[in-house]
C-alpha cells in the first residue's frame, strides 16, 4: 500500500529530475559563446587550408545546414525532446559529423557504466566490510588501523590517486598497460581478461578513494547500532559473534548505506569522469570533455543527457530496491 505510493512518487520525481536536468543542459550550451561551425572552420583553417572569402562563406553555410542548427531555440528544444524521448535519437555529432551521437555514446556508455558499477560496488562492499569491523570490533588493532588508513585515504582527491597509480604501476613498475587496448571480441575470455587488465588501475583509483567514505560512515553506523538493545539482547541470546555482526549489526547498518549509495552515484560519476580523462579510458568522460572542447552541441547533449538518465536511473533502481532490504518499508 505504502509501497505503491512510494513507487509512484519516486517515479514522478525521477521523470521531473530528468526533465529539469536535461532542459538545463539543453539551454546552457546554446548560450555558449563558442560556435560549432566556427570551431570546425577554425580547425580546417589552422591546418593551413587556404580558402577565398566566398569559399569560407559557402563552407559555413554548408556546415550550419548540415549541423541542423537552424530554427528558433524553441523549435530546437521541442525537436530535441521529441527526438530524445520518442525516437531516442540525438542526431549526428557535430565534430564527428555525420557519425550519430547514439553510436558514439553507445560505444562509450558500457565502459563508463562498467567502470562505475564495478568500482562502486567494490568500494562499497570493501568499505562497508572494513567499516563494520571497525565499528563492531572497535577494540581490535587491525580494525583501528584500517580505520586510520581510511581517514587518510578519504580526503585524497581522485586525480591524485590516479596520478600516483600511474607513476607507480605504469612508470616505475610497469605492471599495468600504458596503452588502452582491448583484444578479442566481446564474449571471449581474451576480451574479458583484457578489459579487466586494462580497467584495474582506473577502477582502483576510484575504489581507493571511494571506500574511505564507506569505511567512515559504516563505522559510525555500526558502532551506534552495536549499542542498540536488540544487539545487546542478541548477545544475551548467546548468538555467535559472526551471526550478530551480520544479521544484527550489518543488516541494520546497511540500510542507510544503501540510501547514501543512491545519493552518491552522481558524485562517484564525477570522479569517474576525471579518472577516465587521466587514464584515457574510453568512457563518457573523455567524450564529454572532447565535446566541450569542440563545442559539439549534439554530442554534449547526448553524453550529458545519458549521464543524467544513467545516474538518475541508478538512483531510482537503488531506491526501488531499498524496500527489499528494509522490511519496514516493504510491508507497511
Amino acid at each position: 500500500m505504502q509501497f505503491a505510493k512510494f513507487v509512484v512518487t519516486r517515479v514522478i520525481a525521477y521523470v521531473l529530475v530528468i526533465w529539469i536536468g536535461i532542459t538545463v543542459v539543453f539551454f546552457v550550451p546554446r548560450f555558449m559563446p563558442s560556435d560549432p561551425v566556427e570551431s570546425m572552420l577554425g580547425r580546417i583553417m589552422t591546418r593551413g587550408a587556404y580558402m577565398e572569402a566566398e569559399q569560407v562563406e559557402a563552407m559555413r553555410a554548408t556546415l550550419t545546414q548540415a549541423f541542423g542548427l537552424e530554427g528558433t531555440l524553441a523549435e530546437q528544444y521541442f525537436g530535441f525532446f521529441h527526438r530524445t524521448f520518442l525516437t531516442r535519437d540525438f542526431g549526428p555529432s557535430l565534430s564527428l559529423f555525420p557519425t550519430p551521437v547514439n553510436e558514439v555514446v553507445g560505444r562509450a556508455l558500457p565502459w563508463t557504466l562498467g567502470l562505475l558499477l564495478s568500482s562502486t560496488i567494490i568500494a562499497w562492499i570493501l568499505g562497508n566490510a572494513i567499516g563494520l569491523l571497525a565499528g563492531y570490533k572497535s577494540r581490535w588493532l587491525s580494525s583501528r588501523t584500517l580505520e586510520v588508513i581510511a581517514i587518510f585515504v578519504y580526503p585524497i582527491p581522485y586525480y591524485i590517486t590516479a596520478l600516483i597509480l600511474i607513476i607507480l604501476f605504469i612508470h616505475i613498475n610497469p605492471i599495468f598497460p600504458l596503452f588502452f587496448s582491448i583484444r578479442g571480441d566481446p564474449p571471449s575470455l581474451e576480451f574479458i581478461t583484457s578489459v579487466i587488465y586494462n580497467s584495474v588501475l582506473p577502477a582502483a583509483s576510484i575504489v581507493i578513494v571511494g571506500f574511505g567514505w564507506w569505511v567512515l560512515s559504516m563505522k559510525a553506523l555500526s558502532s551506534s547500532i552495536s549499542e542498540e538493545d536488540f544487539v545487546y539482547f542478541a548477545k544475551l541470546k548467546g548468538a555467535g559473534e559472526g551471526r550478530i555482526m551480520t544479521a544484527y549489526v550489518l543488516r541494520n547498518a546497511i540500510l542507510p548505506q544503501v540510501t547514501v549509495l543512491a545519493l552518491q552515484i552522481g558524485a562517484i560519476f564525477n570522479g569517474a569522469l576525471i579518472t577516465e580523462i587521466l587514464f584515457g579510458y574510453p568512457g563518457l568522460g573523455t567524450i564529454t570533455y572532447n565535446a566541450v572542447l569542440q563545442a559539439d552541441y549534439n554530442l554534449l547533449m547526448g553524453t550529458i543527457s545519458i549521464s543524467i538518465i544513467a545516474v538518475a536511473s541508478s538512483t531510482l533502481i537503488i531506491d526501488l530496491l531499498y524496500p527489499f532490504f528494509d522490511p519496514r518499508i516493504r510491508q507497511r
Binding site: V24, V25, P33, Y159, H171, I274
Partner: protein
C-alpha cells in the same frame, strides 16, 4: 568518544598552520609569486627558496602560500553559502511544508542526481575560460546546497514534532525566537560539520577542474599549481617540491578539515550526553 577533543585539537592546529600560510603570509610575500622568471628555474629547496623554484622561475613556497589563500577562499566561500542556503532551504521546506517543500525537495534532488562535473565543464566553457574563482565557487554552491538542505529538512520535520518546541511556544516564544533559541542550537554543530565537509568538497572539485585545465589558470590555487606542475612534467621530471607541495598541502588540509569535522560531531555527541554510560 573521548578521542573527540584530541582530534579537534590536532585538526585546529593544522588548520591554523594553513591559515597562517594562506591568509597571513601572502601579505608578507616579497613578490607576486605568480609572475614568471623571477628566479632561476628549478632550484632545489634552500634557505632563500624554502621549497625551491618552479620551471617557470616562481618561488614555490610563496606560490603555495598564494594558492592556499585562493583555495581556502573557494572552500570557505562555497561552504559558507552552500551551508547557509542549504540550512535555510531545508528548514523552510521542513517547517512550511506543502508547495515550498515540494519545490525545494525537487530542486535539491535535481542537483543531487544531476552529475555536476559535466555541467561544471560546460559552464567553464560557457564562461569563455573567464571562469573566475568566484564564478566557479557560485557553481559549486549550486551543487552543494542540496546536501545540507535535505538533511535540514528531515531535521526540521523531526524538530517540528519535538516537545520542547511546543514548550517554547507555550512560553510565548515567536516562531523566530523558536528558530533562534530551540532549533539553531540543535543544528549548529551539525551545520559546522557540514560546513567543514563542504570546504573539503569545494577545494577538491575546483582542483579537479583545474587538473583537467578548466579552472581559472592564471590564479594560483592548489589545483592550478598542480596543473602547471603537470604541464611542465614535474612528475616525471621528479621536481617533487613543485608537484609535491600542493598535493601534500591538499591532503594535509583535507585531513585537518576532516579531523575538525569529526571532532566537532564527536564533541557535540559528547555534549548531548552520549559520552556517559
Amino acid at each position: 568518544m573521548r578521542k573527540g577533543s584530541p582530534r579537534l585539537t590536532i585538526g585546529l592546529i593544522m588548520l591554523a598552520a594553513f591559515i597562517i600560510l594562506g591568509v597571513i603570509l601572502p601579505f608578507f610575500s616579497p613578490e607576486d609569486p605568480r609572475s614568471w622568471i623571477r628566479h632561476p628555474r628549478n632550484l632545489q629547496p634552500s634557505a632563500e627558496h624554502l621549497l625551491g623554484t618552479t620551471n617557470l622561475g616562481q618561488d614555490t613556497f610563496w606560490l603555495l602560500s598564494y594558492a592556499t589563500q585562493n583555495s581556502l577562499f573557494i572552500g570557505l566561500f562555497v561552504a559558507f553559502f552552500a551551508t547557509l542556503i542549504g540550512v535555510f532551504a531545508g528548514l523552510g521546506a521542513g517547517f512550511l511544508g506543502g508547495i515550498p517543500d515540494r519545490v525545494i525537495t525537487l530542486l535539491a534532488d535535481v542537483f543531487i542526481v544531476v552529475p555536476s562535473l559535466p555541467i561544471l565543464i560546460l559552464m567553464s566553457s560557457l564562461l569563455q575560460g573567464r571562469a573566475s574563482l568566484v564564478l566557479i565557487s557560485i557553481i559549486l554552491i549550486l551543487f552543494n546546497w542540496p546536501w545540507p538542505a535535505r538533511q535540514m529538512r528531515s531535521i526540521a520535520l523531526s524538530m517540528r514534532e519535538r516537545q520542547f518546541v511546543n514548550t517554547a511556544r507555550f512560553s510565548g516564544s515567536s516562531t523566530i525566537q523558536i528558530l533562534a533559541e530551540e532549533i539553531v542550537p540543535h543544528i549548529f554543530s551539525w551545520a559546522m560539520a557540514n560546513f567543514v565537509n563542504t570546504v573539503l568538497v569545494a577545494i577538491a572539485t575546483e582542483s579537479g577542474l583545474a587538473v583537467i585545465g578548466l579552472s581559472s589558470l592564471e590564479e594560483a590555487t592548489l589545483g592550478t599549481t598542480i596543473y602547471w606542475a603537470l604541464q611542465h612534467q614535474a612528475l616525471l621530471g621528479r621536481r617533487w617540491w613543485w608537484i609535491g607541495s600542493p598535493v601534500v598541502a591538499i591532503i594535509l588540509l583535507f585531513i585537518a578539515l576532516f579531523l575538525i569535522s569529526t571532532g566537532i560531531s564527536n564533541l557535540s555527541a559528547e555534549r548531548r550526553g552520549h559520552g556517559d554510560a
